[in-house]
Symmetry: C2
Subunit: 276 residues, 2 copies
């Protein structure tokens, strides 16, 4: 595998990075942000406790050799960046690591233009989601949820051991971490009742998941092999699959989870590239 210079563990930055930071120079993620003084959404990365304005860095011609248009950085979503493909995104990340390297003076004096303290900005939903697929990927989780809905005898369905069991979720309900949500109303069948009742969910649950952002599209009907998969995955986000278990239990046979999970799904604002 190609060596990725941005990941070099010996690299240090001229930006002050706390030892326990999620974003040392080796892990420069991608996101979208705005500031009170400039409400236009634009692309960013993070280093230590700073958010880095990539649109301004591009205006300052710091990415000149990469030849990425300003419209890619002055953008509400990462999608146009993702569509550039793995090689060009990797080159951008390598260039960022080079610019923030303590041995490089190119960008340091200009940094007041593009460094914002993280607590002074608003981080936005980073990607425009076309489709969202949720896989039932841990044996223990599948068994737990199955026990909740069908009892211990029928907890794990036979297909689980043979194929990745998944369903499509509601793409338009994906929101960025920290957004307040409403407790959903819906139909549930209380224990022992003969008829369902309508009201607020009493069994709200959350699931910590890891979500993969697919950044490049394919033609309908073309298969992507597992060997090619990494070329299509832009990066990863944290995902909270909020679930109203009482609504889900009553509605899910035979078409799967629907309203019990459609009211909100939360992702982290930072996309960590697969490279990192």
């Amino acid at each position: 595998m190609e060596k990725i210079s941005a990941n070099d563990p010996t690299r240090r930055s001229w930006v002050d990075v706390p030892a326990d930071s999620d974003f040392p120079i080796q892990n420069l993620p991608f996101g979208v942000f705005r500031t009170p003084s400039n409400p236009a959404p634009r692309l960013c990365t993070a280093i230590g406790n700073y958010v880095v304005d990539l649109a301004v860095m591009n205006y300052l011609t710091l990415f000149e050799e990469l030849d990425i248009g300003n419209e890619v950085f002055n953008n509400r979503y990462l999608n146009d960046l993702m569509a550039l493909g793995k090689a060009r995104v990797r080159a951008l990340r390598n260039r960022l690591a080079e610019l923030f390297d303590e041995r490089n003076e190119e960008a340091r004096d200009l940094s007041w233009h593009f460094l914002h303290p993280m607590d002074k900005v608003e981080l936005l939903l980073p990607v425009r989601v076309g489709d969202y697929t949720d896989f039932y990927s841990s044996l223990e989780h599948a068994t737990n949820v199955g026990t909740m809905f069908r009892g211990p005898e029928n907890a794990l369905m036979p297909n689980w051991r043979h194929l990745p069991v998944g369903y499509h979720g509601r793409a338009s309900s994906i929101i960025v971490s920290g957004t307040p949500i409403h407790r959903p109303l819906g139909q549930t069948l209380p224990e022992g009742a003969e008829s369902p009742v309508f009201g607020p969910s009493r069994l709200m649950d959350f699931e910590l998941e890891m979500a993969f952002v697919v950044g490049q599209s394919t033609e309908l009907g073309r298969r992507v092999s597992t060997a090619e998969a990494e070329d299509y995955i832009f990066g990863l986000v944290l995902f909270n699959d909020w679930s109203a278990r009482d609504i889900q239990k009553w509605e899910y046979v035979p078409l799967g989870p629907f309203l019990g999970k459609s009211f909100a799904s939360t992702i982290s604002p930072w996309v960590v590239t697969l490279d990192a």
Copy 2:
């Protein structure tokens, strides 16, 4: 209810419309098309056997009083038109009926600019689909499919009589009628077998459905009442929910239909407004 002048049954057009046409002057639908001589997608309507270029009509200032920007008509999808809201789309449709009325000479001499024989154009997917939800809406269909998968005793699930049972489908697999599709490959459990096998589906099925295009968005967490529903529904399309029943049968418990229906879903190129 407000009277919609475009629907006036006594209206006749100066365009020759066959008696059995789907698109008399009372049913002017919306779509997106392109022509061999101008491959830029743009909005259209239909009357008789003609496709009507709405972008050109707007350039010719025939919609002047409606004040809709050229960018709405010179568009790959109907979404920006839909976002104008019910009242403005209704005004456009009324104006079109007025312009095509046999008593009106305003547009007739200009018609060579915007009328194309339907067999000389390419009709495109008319809407950009954000989410696609499929409801299990006929008692007979739910019973038939249930019998196929679970036998006659468990055919209809108890929730069916209490709430609209539905699932999210794959929005990115929606294609326009006439597009060739690939027979899907997938895992199936043949009758009596102990382990699943991988291969082409042997039980391809189709379902004729009616799909509603929701043209306006809401804020997350805000409910739309049934009384308000018509303000959000732009129109209807025909929908073919292709299904690989053998793949579906093996995969669908407990998360619902997935790969057995994700390979393609076909819609008609014309959206008939709810007004019509």
